[in-house]
Symmetry: C2
Subunit: 406 residues, 2 copies
């Protein structure tokens, strides 16, 4: 009976897999024996996946999400590019030139995957006779004949300097004519290209790169990766590329390996810690969260009023905090201003007994203050511009206008 239940479950899910699409964000764990600096055992990851669809529209969408999301997070569009490949094309091509057993195919793919690190010349040597690396160690070659390595090289280089996705497809089609798997892969790329075109994702944002492998062996079709075009200076002052930021691909076989059910799937991940580090370099000003408007503390009698105002301002959508440090009875204004500065508060509201009696609040615009301190040297002029007395009844409107827009 158990057997037939199993068979039925298989029928249901293999012929009729549920479509499951989700994104998730949280801590994940890395199963690696050797952790590198900055590659921690636990890290934060944002994933989005479509399980239960063969349609490469889901792959195309993942690429668009990567492109849009990184821009929305704050990276400038011209500082990164989404690179896309389809393993079916390369696999089909390798079969067509006679590399048709899994073991040799795997070996070739692993060497191609190192291209970024070792470069074209070393890759060619590893496909052929082997080489000696910079430490003097001998690296065995695959000993492919020159006829094959030449074809592989010209296949991989066929898109070098070609920006048009359409052109890359045409060239790869010519190189793989007659191979079914490659043709299927190219049809998928064609479909993805068409979707991107109709949605305005041009070659400035998404390109085809026949050399893109992505490490994981479980990818079966389209693979994608975002490459940062930014550079940084390392500790020796040498300029280095930031390189790959995030990516993903189609993993039609993975669910079967794990659950024994044929369910096609695709998706991508963004490593949040790494992205945060890159953002900090690219946009240091974004690293500092915008703080609340701070209501300074002058007078014990006025504390309920401070909290009342805070409540009103919050209800109108403003982020507000009443200062509650306790050093020397709260009174040191210097402490309070230092706190506001540290928290990146856009403004401080000052209400002493005089102000309360007059029904006004003094608003000190810290944002403007910082800007003006670069151009204004006269302190009186500076205070005149930065501090403003606002009638209590107008406070909500004034602050909303000044501090909600941005």
């Amino acid at each position: 009976e158990r057997l037939w239940q199993d068979v039925r479950r298989r029928q249901i899910t293999e012929n009729n897999p549920p479509l499951f699409r989700r994104f998730q964000y949280g801590p994940v764990y890395r199963y690696e024996l050797k952790l590198m600096p900055g590659r921690f055992r636990e890290f934060w990851q944002l994933d989005f996946d479509s399980v239960g669809t063969k349609d490469v529209a889901a792959d195309a969408e993942a690429c668009m999400i990567l492109s849009d999301a990184l821009e929305a997070i704050g990276l400038d569009r011209d500082t990164f590019i989404v690179k896309v490949n389809n393993r079916k094309v390369l696999k089909g091509f390798l079969t067509s030139i006679g590399i048709d057993d899994d073991e040799r195919e795997g070996a070739v793919l692993r060497i191609i995957d190192k291209l970024d690190k070792i470069g074209w010349d070393a890759m060619l040597l590893e496909l052929g006779p082997g080489r000696t690396d910079s430490s003097g160690a001998a690296i065995a070659g695959l000993h492919l004949p020159a006829s094959q390595t030449d074809q592989i090289m010209s296949f991989l280089q066929s898109a070098t300097g070609v920006a048009s996705r359409q052109k890359v497809i045409e060239q790869l089609a010519a190189l793989t004519a007659g191979n079914d798997l490659a043709t299927e892969g190219l049809d998928e790329l064609r479909k993805m290209d068409q979707l991107w075109k109709s949605l305005g994702f041009d070659e400035e944002r998404i390109v085809f790169d026949p050399t893109l492998m992505r490490g994981m062996a479980y990818y079966t079709g389209p693979v994608f990766e975002v490459e940062s075009l930014m550079t940084y200076k390392d500790e020796k002052g040498k300029t280095r590329k930031v390189g790959s930021i995030c990516g993903g691909g189609r993993y039609d076989g993975l669910v079967e390996n794990i659950l024994g059910l044929k369910v096609p799937a695709t998706g991508a991940s963004i490593g949040v810690d790494r992205l945060a580090a890159i953002l900090q370099k690219a946009k240091p000003e974004m690293g500092k969260a915008k703080g609340p408007i701070l209501i300074a503390y002058f007078d014990d009698q006025l504390q309920p009023l401070y909290y009342k105002i805070a409540k009103q301002l919050r209800q109108s959508g403003l982020d507000v905090e009443v200062y509650c440090g306790f050093f020397k009875g709260y009174r040191k204004m210097k402490k309070q201003m230092a706190y506001a500065d540290k928290k990146n508060c856009p403004a401080v509201i000052l209400i002493g007994s005089d102000e309360a009696a007059k029904g006004v609040a003094t608003v000190k615009n810290l944002k403007l203050g910082k800007q003006l301190s670069k151009t204004t040297t006269d302190k009186k002029e500076w205070i005149g511009k930065v501090q403003k007395e606002v009638p209590m009844d107008d406070l909500v409107d004034y602050l909303k206008e000044e501090f909600i827009a941005d």
Copy 2:
């Protein structure tokens, strides 16, 4: 030198602690040998804390945050209440009646903490001669004389049935007159009461409860707890109280225990898993997340159009998904509608080649459909009301009006 660095660090931070206020949300771990059902080793918690302030305005604020947050999350205001106590008052009171060594004080506090579970009679017995529990096991008593247990009982019961916070303070003040620590604690409660009053947090939302202990020994001053007033039937059909949902308190000694620095602090936590379970009971309809508007898939040729429309709709703030299941070339409308149902989609957009040629889209309002299916039996009438043909150019406006407001 190291010594003096240490001393300096202490001077800086003890006289001049930084004010540090934050909230955080994420997985935390429970250090308990015996985990109960529903009490997992890893769980999700939302914390908010103020470190570096003695001012009980921060405690008052934590109580208001608990009250506001639970309401914002979806609990009705009359289904829970924030209970507040101040350990200083009880500690001061115990000293004043002669329970003045730490060990006995701790023992009394631990017995009071069980009140909720064991009830008044059993508590009195444990303070006095001891008792036999329902399993027949003997529980040793503290053997306090009747003069002391009577005073403790009347102190704890002094607020029974008293709704007014002001009244509770007056009664406790009468019972602890002359004790400095209790007076300090009552002043703190008075200040908190004043803030709540001025901000409209009346006794329907926050009450004083002299019996509230909160388990943790490290609380030093105000403690607070949210009690759900809801009940549920257990597996035996017995009505049970949901009881405490979340809480916190002032922990002025804890930072010193850990870091060796005297830094006052207060804060509260919300156990997210537990709250989610309660919400699911209280508002089952909220358990189902609102799905995206689904664009159904009819025609391969139209796929770019589907994604184009999805992009437009997203840019206007709508949550949209293009169906990408692959069963039998996508065409089974029944599958697509089942998917939309399962995802709780408010609407499905249907565009076949006829619609595309006419420049219209058929919008099927699933939300309205569910409501009408209860009252309308005539299928034609139902379809007439639920399906609407909308010119493509009006689609954004139509959907925004129908589906963004709620």
